[in-house]
C-alpha cells in the first residue's frame, strides 16, 4: 500500500531523469569525442581526513576518489589503511568526543580539461570520531552534484551511527575502511500528472459507455421501485377509508 505510490513516483522520475539528462547533454554543446574521452578516462581527486585531539583541522590524504564524468557519473575509491599512530590517535579523539572530518576539493565533472575541473575551495563534512571507531570504520560517503555537474556537497555517516561507549578492543578492526561510496545527482521533481489523470477519466467514461446498465433510462432502471411505490400508495389510500368508516359506524 505504502510502496505503491512511492514506486510510481520513482518510476516516473527515473523516466523523466533519463529524458532530461539527454536533453542536458544536447544543450551543453560539448563535442562528442571529448565526452567519450572523459567517460572512459575518469580523473582522481584526493579524499582527505582529519582527526585531532585539539579539534584544529589538519587534513591528510585518506585515499583517492576516481570520478568518471558523463551521462551517469560514477565514483570509486582507493584508500590506504590506517597506520598504527592514526589508530591510537583516532581512539584518543573518540575518547574526548572529537570530530572526524573529511573533505574533497570542489570539482566540475563535466569539464574537458583537468585544469577546468578543479575549483577553488573544499567541501567538508564530519562525523563524531567515536561513531567512526565503534562502527569499525564502516562509513557511507555520498557525493552530491548539481544539475550541471558541479560537486556541491559531501556527506558521511557511519553504520551504526550511535556512540554507545563500547570499547573497541581489537586493533585490527580499525585498520581497513569499509566504505560505501555513491555519487548522487539531483532527481527531477515530478510535475502535475495530467496525462495519466485524463487517461483514467477517459477509461472511466468508456467503461460507462460499455456498461449497458448505465445507459438505461431512469424509469427503465427503477421501474420496479416506482411500481411498488405506486401500488403501496394505492393500497394505503384504498385501505384507509373503510377503516375510518368502520370506526365511525361503531
Amino acid at each position: 500500500m505504502a510502496r505503491l505510490p512511492t514506486f510510481n513516483v520513482a518510476v516516473v522520475s527515473t523516466v523523466l531523469f533519463i529524458a532530461c539528462t539527454d536533453f542536458v547533454c544536447c544543450n551543453n554543446g560539448r563535442r562528442v569525442g571529448d565526452n567519450l574521452e572523459t567517460e572512459f578516462s575518469g580523473f582522481s581527486v584526493p579524499l582527505e581526513h582529519s582527526f585531532e585531539v585539539d579539534d584544529v583541522a589538519k587534513f591528510r590524504v585518506r585515499g583517492a576518489l576516481v570520478l568518471k564524468a558523463g551521462r551517469e557519473p560514477s565514483v570509486s575509491l582507493s584508500q590506504n589503511q590506517l597506520s598504527e599512530d592514526d589508530r591510537t590517535k583516532l581512539k584518543e579523539v573518540a575518547a574526548v568526543d572529537g570530530l572526524y572530518r573529511i573533505r574533497v576539493p570542489r570539482v566540475f565533472l563535466q569539464a574537458d580539461r583537468q585544469t577546468e575541473r578543479q575549483m577553488e575551495g573544499y567541501l567538508t563534512a564530519f562525523v563524531r570520531a567515536c561513531a567512526m571507531v565503534e562502527s569499525h570504520l564502516s562509513d557511507v560517503i555520498s557525493l552530491h552534484t548539481d544539475v550541471s555537474g558541479y560537486l556541491i556537497g559531501v556527506s558521511i555517516v557511519t553504520l551504526p551511527g550511535a556512540c554507545r561507549g563500547t570499547e573497541v578492543e581489537d586493533e585490527v578492526d580499525l585498520e581497513v575502511f569499509n566504505t560505501t561510496l555513491s555519487i548522487m545527482a539531483p532527481v527531477n521533481a515530478p510535475g502535475p500528472e495530467t496525462a495519466l489523470f485524463l487517461e483514467r477519466m477517459e477509461q472511466e467514461s468508456e467503461k460507462k459507455g460499455k456498461n449497458p446498465q448505465e445507459q438505461k433510462s431512469f424509469f427503465a432502471k427503477y421501474w420496479y421501485l416506482i411500481l411498488g411505490g405506486a401500488i403501496f400508495l394505492m393500497v394505503s389510500n384504498s385501505a384507509q377509508p373503510p377503516a375510518g368508516g368502520g370506526r365511525e359506524q361503531s
Binding site: D55, T124, F126, A131, M184, P192
Partner: protein, 965 residues
C-alpha cells in the same frame, strides 16, 4: 468507479460544510483595518463648505479620501506597486482630482464624492517633470503636464488632449516647472545648470510659442528647489551661495534683479539651504504676493512682494512648520511652533498683514513615543461671525496622521506605519492582578520563609480578594444585563488586559518598516501601545524574538528586536516589554561588529530569559543576557550547539559548532556554484511547532513513520539562466547540524518567485511553470519507513539512513502572494495552508489535498486511509476563503499562532491592510457551538432526575401496598 466518485463527492461536500463563516458570525472573531501608507500629497475638499473629506495620495500608491470627522476611509484606490503605480502629482479642482501616475504614464481624473473614475488617458512617453491646472477668465478647464521633452494640455472635463508641443532645445535645457496664472498663457521654465534660465511661453489657445527667452542665472541648477512664482508673475529664487534673492518678472523678462538677504536684515543658518513657499489659492488667478522663506530648520520669515520690492513682514523663530490656507477670500498662514517638550502650538496669522489672529491657538500634544512633526495641512473655514476657524492635520516622522481641532482636541489619529508591517509576534497576555497575586503568594520563596500562621493568614486574605473580585464581576454582569446590548462596551485598555479562559486574546507586537513598534489587542484590533524608534536606518532588516514569555511572574515578559542595517551589517538591539511597550531597563550589549546570524537557544538564565546568541563577522559569539550563569550553561552545552550561515552571493552554506570559549569552528560546508543557481530562500521549521503523531496509520494497520528532523533546512535555488526552456528551481533538504544533503531535486522549466512552507515532515512550495504557463504546487514528504530508527530521541548525528522521499505536484489556478501553515497548541488538529492571493483573499487549503500519497488508482487500502484520489488540479472553493468579503490588499505575510484551544489557530494577515481571524482546521471539536441548547439539555436532565425521584417514591409505595396485601 461509481463508488469512487461518490466518495470523492462526499469528501467535497463534507469539506464544503466544514469551512465558511455563518452570517451572524461576521465580525465576531475577526477584524480588518485598512491603511493608505505615508501621505505624499494631501488636499482638503473645499468646494463645499460642509465637506468632510480630505484627499490623500501616498507613497504606497494609494489614493483615498478620509473622513475628517472620524478618520475612516470614504473610499480608497490601490494602484500597482512599484514605480508603475507611483503617484507623481495630485491636483484638485472642485469635484475633480487629477492624478499623474507612473512617472507620467497615465493621467486620471477622479470624482471625489464617491471616488469614481471620471476618465483616464495614456500620456505620451517621457519622464514626468511637473503639472499644473490652467485657468482662463476665472474658469479652470485645463490641466498642463510637463514632461522632459514635451508639454501637453488636456481638458479637465474629459481628458482629451487639447494640444501637445515639443519643447525647444531639450538637449541642453532641463525643463522643470510649468506655471500659469489665468491670463491665457502657459509658462514653461527650464534651466541650463549654472548658466541660464530658459522661459518658453505658450498660448493657451493653440499651443503656439508666444515668446522664448533666456535669462542669465549662473547660480541656478534646480528651479523647483529654489524658485517660486509670487504675486504678479514674479519668479523669485533664493540662492544659498550668494545669500540673495533673484527676481524676474515673467511678463517682462528683462533681467534678474538681485536683492541681497542682508539688505532685508535676514540671515541664513550656516549650512542650511533656504527654501521658499508660496501659495496660489486659485489656479486661474495670480499667486499671493506674500510668501515664506525658510532660513533654518526652525526659522521662517514671512515676506511680501510689493511693487517689485520685497519687504519683511514677520519673523517666526522658533517655528517648526508653516502652511498657507485659503477660505473664501481670506488667506491665512498657520505656523507651528514648539511650546514645551511635549507640546507644540499652532497659530494663525493673516497673510496680508502678518498679524496674529485672535483665538486661533491650537495645542498639539506630541506623543513622547512618536516622531517629530513633518508636515502640516490646514483646513480653514469661515465661522458665522466671518472670522477664520481651522483644523489641522499633522503628519509626523513615524507616518502618523493626527487631525486636531481647536483648542487641541484630537479628533482622530491614523497610524499609517501599520501599512508596512515587516514582522510580528503574538505574546500571551499576563494574568490578572489577583491571579498574579495568588501565584506570587504561594511561590517557592514565600513558603520557606513564612511560618504556618502567616501562611494561613495569607491564604485567607487571598481568598477574600478572590471573593471580592467575583462579587465585582457578578455586579458588573448584573449592571450590564440591564443596559441594551449595543451600549455595553468592553473597552480594552492597558490596565485591564488579562488572559482569557482559552488564551484566545493575545498581544500582537508589530514591527513596521518605519521603525515604529505597535502593541495591538488581537481581539478588538485596538492599538494599546506604540513606540517609535529613532535612528532606524531606512533599509533596516528586523528580527523580533520573544526572550521571556508572560509565564514567569513576577519577571516581566521581554522581547528583543534586532535591527540590522542591510548595507553595513551593523546591528542594534532594542529590548522591551511586549505588553506595555516600555523599553526594558536591561541594557542590551553594544554590537560593534556586523552581525551574521542570531539564534535563540532553549537555554534560560536564572531569570527565565532565553539566551540569544549573536554571531559576528569574526565568527565570534556573544550571548545576551551574558550573566555568569548563562556562560556556564553555554560552556556545558557548547558541544551540542550548532548553527549555520548562508552566503547567497557565493552560494555557500556552512555549519559551525560552538566551542567552550565561545569561539566557533567550521564543521561542514556545501557550495552551490552561483554561476548556475542562486540561493533564494532557506527555511527551517518553527521552533514552537508540535507534532502529535509520529507516523501515519496505513490501510493495512501498519505505521509509516514520519521523518521528523527538527534541524532540517529547505534551501530553494533559482537558476541564473532565465530562458524558459532551461530555467529551473532547485530544492535541497539539508540537515542544519551535519550538513548532510538529505534530498536534492530540481523542478525543470520552472521559475520563481518560489513560496515555501516547511513544517513537520513536509515541504510545500509554489512556483511558476514556464512550460505550461501556470502556477504549480509541489509537496515533498519525508518518511523514515515502517520502523523508527530511534524512537526516543532525534539526533542529527545518529540517523544514518536516508528517509524515503515522496513528492507530488498539482496545478493551482491562481498566483499567490504569501503562504503559511496553521499552527496549534499540541499539533493534533489537521493542518491547513493559508494562502494569501493577489486578489486579496486568504485561502485555507487543507493539507490533505497536498499529500504525495494521494493514489492515482484507488484501492481498498487507500480508501481505508481516507486518501483523496489524485487529481492534478487543486480547486479554489469560495468557502475556503477565511476572510469572506474582507479583502486584504497586498498581503505580504501571514502569521499564525496557537491558542489555548487545540482546535483554534489565530491568524493575522498583513500587508496594506491588517486582518485578524481564527481558523478551525478540524472544526471546533473542543468547543460547544454558539447555538448549543443549554436550556433543553438541562431541562431534560432535571426532568429525568425528578422522574426518577418520583418513580422511586411510587415504586416504594407500590411495594409497601403489595406487602400489606
Amino acid at each position: 468507479m461509481a463508488k469512487l466518485i461518490l466518495l470523492w463527492l462526499k469528501c467535497v461536500v463534507l469539506w464544503a460544510i466544514v469551512e465558511a463563516v455563518f452570517e451572524d458570525q461576521v465580525g465576531k472573531f475577526d477584524w480588518r483595518q485598512q491603511y493608505v501608507g505615508k501621505v505624499r500629497f494631501s488636499h482638503f475638499d473645499t468646494h463645499v463648505q460642509s465637506s468632510k473629506k480630505v484627499l490623500v495620495a501616498t507613497e504606497r500608491n494609494v489614493f483615498a479620501a478620509l473622513n475628517t470627522r472620524t478618520g475612516e476611509l470614504f473610499w480608497r484606490h490601490v494602484d500597482k506597486t512599484g514605480s508603475e503605480g507611483n503617484i507623481d502629482a495630485l491636483l484638485q479642482h472642485g469635484q475633480d482630482a487629477v492624478l499623474v501616475v507612473g512617472n507620467g504614464r497615465l493621467l486620471r481624473s477622479w470624482e471625489i464624492n464617491v471616488g469614481g473614475l471620471n476618465w483616464e488617458v495614456v500620456l505620451d512617453s517621457g519622464s514626468f517633470q511637473s503639472a499644473c491646472l490652467v485657468g482662463q477668465q476665472d474658469m479652470v478647464k485645463h490641466v498642463a503636464v510637463l514632461k522632459k521633452t514635451a508639454i501637453s494640455v488636456h481638458y479637465l472635463s474629459n481628458g482629451h488632449q487639447k494640444w501637445i508641443e515639443n519643447l525647444p532645445e531639450t538637449e541642453t535645457v532641463d525643463y522643470q516647472a510649468v506655471y500659469s496664472d489665468g491670463n491665457g498663457e502657459v509658462y514653461v521654465l527650464g534651466v541650463v545648470p549654472h548658466s541660464h534660465i530658459a522661459i518658453v511661453v505658450y498660448s493657451m489657445e493653440d499651443g503656439e510659442i508666444i515668446k522664448q527667452m533666456s535669462v542669465e542665472a549662473p547660480w541656478l541648477y534646480n528651479i523647483q528647489a529654489s524658485c517660486v512664482v509670487v504675486g504678479q508673475g514674479m519668479l523669485t529664487c533664493v540662492d544659498s551661495a550668494g545669500v540673495s534673492f533673484y527676481m524676474l518678472d515673467l511678463h517682462l523678462q528683462l533681467q534678474m534683479t538681485q536683492v541681497p538677504l542682508q539688505s532685508l536684515a535676514l540671515e541664513v543658518d550656516p549650512g542650511f539651504h533656504p527654501v521658499l513657499l508660496s501659495h496660489q489659492p486659485n489656479p486661474a488667478r495670480q499667486p499671493l504676493s506674500e510668501f515664506f522663506l525658510q532660513l533654518g530648520p526652525d526659522h521662517y520669515q514671512l515676506l511680501q512682494l510689493n511693487n517689485g520690492q520685497i519687504a519683511a513682514m514677520r519673523d517666526f523663530k522658533p517655528a517648526l512648520l508653516v502652511s498657507f490656507a485659503t477660505t473664501g477670500e481670506k488667506t491665512v498662514a498657520a505656523v507651528m511652533s514648539p511650546k514645551n517638550k511635549t507640546a507644540c502650538s499652532v497659530n494663525l496669522f493673516s497673510a496680508e498683514t502678518g498679524r496674529r489672529l485672535l483665538d486661533t491657538t491650537l495645542i498639539v500634544n506630541m506623543d513622547p513615543n512618536g516622531g517629530k512633526p513633518e508636515k502640516l495641512y490646514v483646513q480653514a473655514f469661515l465661522k458665522k461671525d466671518d472670522s477664520v476657524g481651522y483644523r489641522a492635520m499633522v503628519q509626523t516622522e513615524d507616518h502618523t496622521l493626527t487631525f486636531i481641532q481647536q483648542p487641541g482636541r484630537v479628533m482622530w489619529t491614523r497610524e499609517e506605519a501599520l501599512s508596512d508591517v515587516v514582522t510580528m509576534e503574538m505574546v500571551d497576555l499576563p494574568l490578572t492582578g489577583t491571579q498574579a497575586e495568588l501565584e506570587g503568594e504561594f511561590g517557592k520563596k514565600a513558603a520557606i520563609q513564612d511560618g504556618l500562621m502567616s501562611m494561613v493568614m495569607k491564604r485567607l486574605s487571598s481568598q477574600l480578594i478572590l471573593l471580592q473580585a467575583w462579587i465585582g464581576h457578578l455586579w458588573k454582569l448584573f449592571y450590564d444585563a440591564r443596559k441594551p446590548r449595543s451600549q455595553v462596551k468592553n473597552d480594552v485598555t492597558i490596565e485591564n488586559l488579562s488572559r482569557d479562559e482559552f488564551n484566545l486574546q493575545k498581544m500582537m507586537v508589530m514591527v513596521t518598516a518605519s521603525g515604529k513598534l505597535f502593541g495591538i489587542d488581537s481581539k478588538t484590533g485596538g492599538i494599546l501601545w506604540r513606540h517609535y524608534l529613532h535612528n532606524v536606518p531606512p533599509n533596516a532588516a528586523f528580527k523580533l524574538m520573544v526572550q521571556r514569555t508572560t509565564a514567569h511572574f513576577p519577571h516581566p515578559p521581554q522581547c528583543t528586536l534586532l535591527i540590522k542595517d542591510k548595507d553595513t551589517g551593523l546591528g542594534t538591539l532594542h529590548v522591551f516589554n511586549p505588553i506595555f511597550g516600555k523599553k526594558s531597563h536591561v541594557t542590551p550589549p553594544a554590537l560593534p561588529q556586523p552581525i551574521l546570524q542570531s539564534l535563540m537557544l532553549p537555554l534560560m538564565d536564572q531569570d527565565y530569559a532565553k539566551v540569544l546568541l549573536l554571531v559576528d563577522d569574526q565568527y565570534k559569539v556573544s550571548a545576551f543576557p551574558s550573566t555568569k550563569n548563562v556562560l556556564q550553561q553555554l560552556q556545558e552545552m557548547a558541544a551540542s550547539i550548532f548553527f549555520y550561515l548562508v552566503d547567497s552571493s557565493q552560494g555557500r552554506l556552512s555549519g559551525y559548532r560552538l566551542r567552550t570559549d565561545l569561539s566557533t569552528e567550521q564543521i561542514w560546508e556545501v557550495i552551490i556554484p552561483p554561476e548556475v543557481q542562486k540561493i533564494v530562500s532557506v527555511k527551517g521549521k518553527r521552533p514552537n511547532e508540535h507534532v502529535h503523531s509520529q507516523g501515519r496509520v496505513m490501510g493495512d494497520r501498519s505505521v509509516l513513520y514520519k521523518y521528523l528532523n527538527p534541524n532540517l533546512l529547505a534551501v530553494v535555488t533559482e537558476s541564473t539562466d532565465l530562458h524558459q526552456e532551461r530555467s529551473f528551481i532547485g530544492i535541497l533538504l539539508i540537515d542544519g547540524v551535519t550538513g548532510r544533503i538529505i534530498h536534492e531535486a530540481i523542478q525543470r522549466k520552472a521559475r520563481g518567485p518560489v513560496h515555501v512552507v516547511h513544517s513537520e515532515n513536509w515541504v510545500v512550495y509554489e512556483y511558476w511553470s514556464t512550460k505550461s504557463r501556470r502556477n504549480e504546487f509541489s509537496v515533498i514528504e519525508l518518511y523514515e519507513g515502517m520502523e523508527l530508527y530511534n524512537s526516543t530521541v532525534f539526533s542529527s548525528l545518529d540517523r544514518p539512513h536516508a528517509p524515503q522521499v515522496l513528492q507530488q505536484s498539482y496545478i493551482f489556478p491562481s498566483s499567490i502572494s504569501t503562504m503559511e501553515a496553521t499552527l496549534t497548541e499540541k499539533g493534533i488538529t489537521s493542518r491547513h495552508l493559508l494562502i494569501g492571493l493577489p486578489s486579496g483573499g486568504i485561502l485555507s487549503l487543507p493539507k490533505m489535498f497536498l499529500d504525495p500519497r494521494r493514489p492515482e488508482i484507488v484501492s481498498e487500502q487507500s480508501r481505508e486511509e481516507n486518501l483523496i484520489p489524485y487529481a492534478p488540479e487543486l480547486l479554489i472553493r469560495t468557502e475556503w476563503f477565511i476572510n469572506y468579503n474582507q479583502t486584504v490588499s497586498r498581503v505580504r505575510g501571514i502569521y499564525t499562532a496557537p491558542s489555548g484551544l487545540e482546535s483554534t489557530c489565530l491568524v493575522v494577515a498583513y500587508g496594506l491592510d491588517i486582518y485578524q481571524t481564527r481558523v478551525y482546521p478540524s472544526k471546533q471539536f473542543d468547543v460547544l457551538k454558539d447555538d448549543y441548547d443549554y436550556m433543553l439539555i438541562s431541562s431534560v436532565l432535571f426532568a429525568l432526575f425528578f422522574a426518577t425521584m418520583i418513580s422511586k417514591r411510587l415504586a416504594e409505595v407500590k411495594l409497601l401496598n403489595r406487602a400489606w396485601r
